[in-house]
């Protein structure tokens, strides 16, 4: 039986987490109000330059001109709500973000010309999902398999080597591999392109187009997998070894069950929940892409979009991506909570 109060408690805590994290993101992405100042001065500049080109305006006496200019600027700033203090506006931004009204981007446009943040993000999403979600699936499966192999003989040569590799790749960011691989495979061996999504000009035939995208995807895919799977193997190994140490596994061994049965039924099954949690969270995180890897490979995904948005102080896009991620993350955590409390009675809290 699923405890309703437990679920309600978890849900409300997650909701608070979501709200606070979103608010902090809003504050920081707006540079603590700096973006508003930039917008206000942008408006001031636009209006004064438009007015100065207007001959009828130029014929007015000096003080009239000043007055009219100030009036127009004030109206425009008021229309955008920029005359309110940032604290007030930050809460408006927060409510907008939480209700997923992501609004209009300040600078960035989608390829179709739309300014809506949701359109811009959705346009970039497929490229990121194609690369990073695929990579996540491959490296988690690979990681789990290698991790199981490591756990078979802890302290053995293979285990020690993989552990070292895991720790080293664990701290080396993927873009680092990206640069080295570009030098190696794109420059010296000339096996893969230097980056990008498709060749220019792109093939018109849909099949050839897909093939071309795949060709561009191989190197980033390999990079991401090699950078990630050893650490996954290490995590899996630790979880499995901890389970092997449990009394019920020793008991199963003592009963004389075959090794494979013990491993499958008594070790793997109880080890699965934390592994599944990790995989689920990684899959959710994967749609965010990777800022630097995408920049290095010129991959037109969410990561590249975020970089562009940050460098053009396009706060709505940054907030939009962050809030969508936060929602997905919190929802996943909650769903996993529900599943586990259904499956594992130990997790039920009164």
């Amino acid at each position: 039986m699923l405890s309703k109060s437990y679920l309600a408690k978890r849900a409300s805590l997650l909701a608070i987490t979501l709200i606070v994290a979103t608010y902090l993101t809003v504050i920081i992405a707006n540079g603590g109000g700096l973006v508003d100042q930039i917008l206000a001065s942008q408006i001031r500049f636009d209006i004064s330059s438009t007015l100065s080109r207007d001959p009828s305006f130029n014929r007015l006496p000096e003080d009239e001109r000043e007055k009219l200019l100030e009036q127009r600027i004030e109206l425009a700033i008021h229309a955008k709500g920029l005359d309110q203090p940032f604290i007030v506006r930050s809460f408006i931004y927060l409510v907008d973000a939480l209700t997923l009204r992501l609004g209009q981007a300040l600078v960035i446009k989608s390829n179709t010309g739309s300014r809506a943040v949701i359109d811009i993000i959705m346009e970039r999403l497929p490229a990121t999902v194609a690369l990073f979600t695929t990579a996540t699936i491959i490296y988690s499966v690979l990681g789990i398999l290698v991790g199981l192999a490591m756990a078979r003989k802890p302290g053995g040569l293979f285990d020690r080597l993989m552990t070292m590799l895991a720790v080293i790749t664990g701290v080396i960011p993927p873009w680092f591999f990206a640069i080295i691989f570009l030098l190696l495979f794109a420059f010296y061996i000339r096996l893969f392109p230097f980056g990008g999504f498709v060749s220019v000009p792109s093939p018109t035939d849909p099949f050839l187009y897909a093939l071309d995208v795949l060709y561009h995807m191989v190197l980033p895919l390999i990079t991401w997998i090699i950078a990630s799977f050893p650490f996954w193997a290490y995590i899996t190994r630790n979880i499995v070894i901890q389970t092997i140490g449990e009394d019920f596994v020793t008991m199963a061994k003592a009963k004389g069950l075959p090794e494979s049965t013990v491993l499958r039924r008594y070790v793997l099954r109880p080890s699965l929940p934390p592994i599944i949690t990790n995989v689920a969270l990684a899959l959710i995180a994967s749609w965010q892409g990777a800022i630097i890897t995408e920049v290095v490979f010129g991959w037109p995904g969410i990561g590249n979009l975020l970089n562009l948005a940050i460098l053009s102080t396009d706060a709505p896009v940054v907030i939009g991506a962050a809030v969508m991620y936060a929602y997905l993350l919190v929802a996943t955590v909650l769903i996993l909570d529900i599943i586990y409390s259904l499956v594992d009675p130990r997790l039920k809290i009164g």
Partner: protein
């Protein structure tokens, strides 16, 4: 749960564990090597930061030259840099009748490399009040000569880039036509090949020791002027195709100096960030686990918020908005990681520890909560904390590099990350200037490996259960 039965307690035993395991010792040795390398920074000029960003300061170095030791693998004897200072020129002053002075500067270059220099630049400093006639003549070891330049110049300093100077290029083309060569050969090839081989159409570099007895190349600068106080000084830079231990970048800077200077910066940034962040997170975790109830709840909720925050995006935003130095960046990093993974794991450990009898004993004789926290619980958590510091140092070193890749690094300091990012944006991966990108990368990986090895030696002790068969 982490078994802490046989875990070491206190700094001394942690150091003992590191020094008495093979992996830990290897890590320490690698770190010591990097620190020793960075000692070389002390002997380089003090104004290095200023100099690093001043393109004029590196004109005596070749552009994008590979390290010198590459010759060991590629064979041959690629050109190294030869600098002829003003005192290396043989000066001959001659008073002309009825007036005027003729100064002849003669540079003798013993040249035995297999390739022509990548650049040949002549710095002329002409003192005086009136114009002078300057001629440049190039004499090869085989006795053949080319007049490179004959022009009237104002007094002052100037640099003649012989390979790209328009007058010189025209003169060399005229020379080639005169000896019957139809192709426009590169200036370097023309200057350093024997005239015979040029005429035969198979340019072959002539070395000083190819002729018997060996003879140098000669550059003769002749200047004549009627001006008072007339004087000429020259410096000749024959820039090589290889340079130093680590080669040079596209602004002719010595990559070795960048690495040597980057080492203390990288280590300081990584160590301080890892130390402060881990310690703060550990203390919050211990408080959360030991105090329990309300305090625990609050700290755990804040940690959840921190774990949801998009760390890199926010850091990039802060760095972009305020364009700060690496040390301000350090503060931003710490502020964004006050709570995190360590808080969670230390809390679960503290929950275990607080149930142990010695804590109860301490309580029974009236030790204060703070005393128990800092003197009884935190020391037990020290090995774990220490292991976490070692594993996060390289992560922070790479974080600095990550921001540099996006063009958000420290504006002035030469850091490893900036070296790599400049190499990448300078097209090192696309044109194969491997030394520019691989050597700094190798150092970053070396640091990571060193800390990973140290961590490994601690992990064996911290998680004995994970090692058991």
């Amino acid at each position: 749960m982490i078994n802490m039965g046989s875990a070491p307690i206190g700094i001394k035993s942690v150091i003992h564990e590191i020094m008495h395991s093979k992996s830990g010792l290897t890590g320490v040795v690698i770190l010591a090597f990097i620190l020793l390398t960075s000692l070389a920074a002390l002997v380089s000029p003090a104004n290095i930061v200023e100099k690093w960003n001043d393109p004029q300061a590196w004109l005596d170095n070749p552009r994008l030259a590979a390290p010198e030791w590459t010759a060991l693998f590629t064979g041959g004897n690629p050109a190294k840099t030869i600098i002829l200072k003003p005192q290396d020129f043989k000066k001959d002053v001659q008073q002309l009748q009825p007036s005027g002075t003729k100064i002849e500067l003669r540079a003798r270059i013993v040249y035995d490399y297999d390739t022509p220099p990548s650049e040949m630049n002549l710095m002329l400093k002409i003192a005086g009040e009136a114009r002078s006639l300057v001629t440049l003549k190039w004499v090869r070891p085989d006795g053949s000569s080319i007049e490179l330049l004959r022009e009237v110049t104002e007094p002052g300093s100037r640099t003649i880039f012989t390979y790209i100077d328009r007058e010189i290029t025209a003169n060399i083309q005229a020379y080639l036509r005169k000896i019957g060569v139809a192709d426009n050969l590169p200036t370097g090839v023309t200057l350093f090949s024997s005239e015979k081989s040029l005429i035969e159409g198979t340019p072959k570099l002539i070395k000083s020791h190819d002729v018997k007895p060996s003879k140098p190349y000669e550059l003769i600068v002749e200047a004549t002027s009627e001006s008072k106080g007339f004087n000429v000084e020259a410096q000749l830079n024959l820039l090589g195709v290889v340079y130093g231990l680590c080669g040079t970048d596209n602004l002719r800077r010595d990559v070795f100096i960048g690495i040597v200077w980057g080492a203390p910066i990288a280590l300081a940034f990584g160590l301080v960030a890892a130390f402060v962040v881990t310690l703060i997170q550990a203390i919050f975790g211990a408080i959360s686990g030991y105090y329990g109830s309300k305090v625990d709840e609050i700290i755990q909720r804040i940690t959840d918020v921190y774990l949801v925050l998009p760390f890199l995006s926010l850091l990039i935003t802060i760095q972009f908005t305020y364009k700060t130095t690496i040390w301000a960046l350090l503060i931003a990093v710490i502020a964004l990681s006050l709570f995190g993974g360590v808080t969670k794991s230390v809390r679960s450990m503290a929950l275990q520890i607080r149930e142990e009898p010695y804590i109860e004993a301490a309580k029974s004789y009236g030790a204060s909560r703070r005393r128990i926290l800092f003197l009884y619980i935190l020391p037990r958590l020290l090995p774990y904390t220490f292991a976490n510091i070692t594993v996060s140092v390289p992560a922070y070193v790479f974080l600095e590099a990550s921001l540099s890749i996006l063009g958000l690094g420290d504006p002035a300091l030469p850091t490893w990350g900036k070296l790599i990012s400049e190499a990448f944006s300078g097209g090192a991966a696309y044109y194969g200037y491997w030394w520019w990108i691989i050597i700094p990368s190798m150092f970053i990986v070396l640091v990571s490996t060193a800390f990973a090895l140290i961590w490994y030696s601690l992990d064996k002790v911290l998680n004995p259960r994970l090692r058991e068969e």
